[in-house]
């Protein structure tokens, strides 16, 4: 059998399945239709009371449960649906017997207020943690343990899909979805596994999560109209909008995919990753870690900036991130940056946090497949300090073979992926 290797002699990593859920809908078709129509999934939050909050909007996914649910339950449901779509498309393995490993970006979760209140009801007098511990010791609330352990969601997904080995639950803040993909690429390149199910999921919009980002002054407070709040690269951008969703990719050793006659949707050609020791929430003012992450990803792919046709931006719509990203891109792409299209999916789906890198990778491969770049919506008031072609407001037809997808997160996490069209001749 012919073995296909990249320029560095490593196995090529093919994508054979894609799945996505966001506030725009379930599945690739629904999402693609809405994204290319410039629709927003951001709306007023109705899941919990928003009285007294500065931000009252989000890209919540509200169509999956009838009754109350917790963040891990929604995160698991989102991941399951995205993975079912991706595994189904790839046609790999019998149902429930995925022949490869699981790399999963999951939100760090804690016990939520409704569950704490449930325990508190069993406490006489003033509530304190000793009282909660006594309530816990009755064993009447045993199911809460598995609900709120960090490894729970990935463990359940491993059971559902029958992935092999020890599932990884990871967090690199808002880079997490990209990191899940990178870890799958690395494992395939090491030859440890022939296939990887890489998922980013986040269904963690509840009162305290929203308030915490609000206290950090990270969120947009332009609540009215909700669909106008996320406006990456605009002059009047004032923060991100929280979103929910999941993206799932089946990665596969290229030869393994060929041998079973799978349709190859694209290649994860390169990954770059750099830490930033500057600040807990802010990026280095010189943009160096982001610049190096982009350059590393291109070098890992054996490509140059000239090969890139489009950038899927991190583009959060916070004043600082968008400025840093624009500056960093200019440093990598030079004069060409003024004409190189770069758009932000977050203008429509919000910032899906842990899931973002995976959701946006899925959208990137759809961009390649369809020859259409989704727009940056709400771009009515350009920031004169950011001179980018943000594909304003309307989708654009374009031949796209190579995409750089950026993800940057709190804690100095910078992860960039180079995603390419399948080789024309295998």
């Amino acid at each position: 059998m012919t073995t296909h290797r990249d320029a560095k002699g490593r196995p090529l990593v093919a994508v054979t399945g894609l799945g996505v859920v966001t506030s725009l809908g379930q599945g690739k078709d629904a999402n693609w239709q809405a994204l290319t129509a410039g629709q927003s999934g951001i709306h007023r939050i109705e899941r919990f009371p928003t009285e007294g909050l500065r931000t009252t909007i989000g890209g919540t996914v509200d169509f999956l449960f009838d009754g109350p649910f917790t963040a891990p339950q929604l995160s698991e449901k989102l991941a399951t649906l995205a993975a079912e779509e991706a595994v189904g498309q790839s046609g790999i393995g019998p149902d429930g017997d995925f022949p490869g490993e699981l790399f999963m970006a999951v939100p760090p979760v804690e016990m939520e207020w409704p569950q704490k209140q449930e325990l508190a009801q069993a406490v006489d007098g003033e509530v304190d943690y000793d009282g909660l511990l006594r309530a816990a010791a009755t064993r009447k609330f045993a199911a809460m343990h598995e609900l709120f352990v960090f490894g729970g969601v990935a463990d359940h997904i491993a059971d559902r899909f029958g992935t092999k080995g020890s599932p990884i639950s990871l967090s690199t803040a808002c880079s997490s979805g990209a990191t899940a993909i990178q870890m799958g690429v690395e494992a395939i390149r090491r030859g440890e596994t022939q296939a990887a199910l890489c998922i980013g999921t986040d269904g963690s919009i509840h009162a305290e999560a929203l308030i915490r980002f609000s206290l950090l002054s990270a969120l947009s407070t332009q609540n009215d109209p909700p669909e106008g709040a996320a406006k990456p690269f605009s002059k009047n951008r004032d923060g991100f909008v929280m979103g929910e969703g999941a993206g799932a990719l089946v990665l596969e050793d290229y030869d393994h995919a060929l041998a079973r006659g799978a349709t190859i949707l694209g290649i994860v050609a390169g990954c770059g990753e750099r830490g930033d020791g500057f600040h807990r929430t802010r990026s280095s003012p010189d943009g160096k870690p982001a610049i190096l992450a982009m350059q590393d990803a291109l070098a890992d792919a054996g490509l140059t900036p000239d090969d890139v046709d489009y950038i899927n931006a991190h583009g959060t719509s916070t004043p600082e991130n968008d400025k840093m990203e624009a500056m960093s891109c200019a440093a990598v792409f030079g004069e060409r940056m003024a004409k190189l299209p770069i758009s932000s999916n977050k203008s429509m789906i919000g910032h899906t946090l842990t899931a973002a890198g995976a959701v946006e990778a899925v959208i990137s491969f759809l961009t390649i497949a369809n020859g259409t770049i989704p727009p940056t919506i709400n771009y009515a008031n350009p920031d004169p300090a950011i001179t980018l072609d943000v594909v304003p407001n309307e989708a654009r037809k374009a031949k796209v073979k190579t995409i750089l997808s950026n993800s940057f997160g709190f804690g100095g996490q910078n992860t960039c992926l180079v995603l390419t069209a399948p080789p024309e001749a295998a």
């Binding site: 919990f48 007294g52 209140q117 960090f150 491993a158």
Partner: protein, 377 residues
């Protein structure tokens, strides 16, 4: 890919026994009485952290204030590891040093939570009440101080380690997979130098609550990990351990001391029916080849019912002549840090000449099994 030798060139460890290689080498050699606090969290015993001089590894008070205790402990242990590897002042190495952290998270403000839960009982509009009090009473930076990936972020900021980092979550197995992945990256040539480890603060009721919900805690008194049949369960311990892993070539080229060679690291996920932990561990350890007579078995066992006996049986079958030490008997169970702590203890024992070879095993309290194999460098 070619498999390359992976050596441990830095060890940073802090626990109820103190900090550093010597304190833990002495405890490994002598056994002795563990440090247990049975009163502060009654009825739950814990192994409390021996107070650290934080300034020695985290010089800025402003940095210390930006972290909760588990993050401070981890940053401190990471600093010790960099010191012992001779990398603390090597800016070039630190800019390339890749980090994998096994992390939990959280650390609630117990007073705020308690007041809100009491207040919610009488609130006419509970939703508005909750919003008002969370907005007013949560410290704005608390989120970052307790966020899982911010342990790695703080290692970057405090120690100037600006290579990429990954944070693994998922209780004990996060520690196993962190070691396994770091080893695999170096063995395959994807990396030359890694900092890997974890930290756990046991002195917090919010984590005790999570374990108690599932009935996983031992009550009242200390008993050795493998002798808890009367009341099985975890006795958690505050502990942090970080290791510098390096390709043997790179270590030799810079003349670094190798404390031990990490020859294998493996992980499994059994579906937890009776016997599955024993068979998973037996298979993992079986991949290491024959275990020599002068060997040491360091177990990260939890003390939880059933699985601890299965781990004992697997160890007895795989390495019948090995001296068995439960890390939990020395420093308590460190959850995400439990496996890194155990590997660190094994490396310390080998470096001190207490054994020629060591295996490390661990079965998570609810999921995941792992094992590692170390030999003298």
């Amino acid at each position: 890919m070619n498999r390359r030798d992976v050596v441990i060139t830095g060890i940073g460890i802090a626990s109820s026994l103190g900090e550093g290689i010597e304190a833990h080498a002495a405890a490994l050699a002598a056994g002795g009485t563990p440090v247990v606090d049975t009163e502060s969290f009654e009825p739950y015993p814990v192994h409390p952290l021996l107070a650290l001089e934080l300034d020695r590894q985290i010089p800025k008070k402003s940095d210390q204030r930006q972290m909760e205790p588990w993050q401070r402990l981890g940053v401190y242990a990471a600093g010790l590891a960099l010191d012992s590897a001779g990398l603390k002042d090597d800016a070039e190495a630190k800019s390339a040093l890749q980090v994998i952290v096994a992390a939990g998270g959280g650390e609630r403000d117990h007073a705020v939570d308690s007041a809100i839960l009491s207040g919610l009982r009488g609130a006419n509009e509970p939703g508005a009440y909750l919003n008002e009090h969370l907005m007013g009473d949560l410290r704005p930076t608390l989120f970052l101080a307790q966020l899982s990936n911010l342990l790695a972020g703080n290692i970057a900021i405090v120690h100037g380690v600006t290579g990429p980092s990954r944070t693994f979550m998922g209780e004990e197995q996060a520690g196993v997979d962190a070691i396994r992945t770091a080893h695999a990256r170096i063995a395959s040539g994807q990396s030359d130098l890694m900092l890997v480890g974890g930290a756990y603060n046991a002195e917090r009721r919010d984590m005790l609550l999570l374990f108690e919900l599932g009935g996983y805690l031992r009550r009242d008194s200390f008993a050795p990990v493998f002798e808890r049949e009367d009341a099985p369960g975890l006795i958690t311990g505050s502990a942090g351990a970080f290791l510098v892993l390096e390709s043997a070539e790179r270590a030799a080229a810079r003349g670094a001391k190798a404390y031990a060679k990490l020859s294998h690291a493996g992980a499994a996920r059994s579906r937890r029916a009776p016997g599955t932990v024993e068979s998973a561990l037996t298979k993992l350890v079986g991949a290491f080849g024959a275990i020599g007579p002068d060997s040491l078995a360091i177990s990260a066992a939890t003390g939880c019912a059933g699985i601890t006996a299965e781990e004992a049986a697997a160890l007895k079958a795989a390495a019948p002549s090995a001296k068995r030490i439960a890390a939990g008997d020395l420093v308590g169970h460190g959850v995400e840090a439990a496996f890194p702590v155990s590997v660190a203890l094994a490396a310390i024992a080998l470096s001190a000449g207490q054994a020629k070879e060591a295996i490390v095993t661990g079965a998570g309290h609810w999921r995941g099994e792992g094992a590692a194999h170390l030999v003298q460098a």
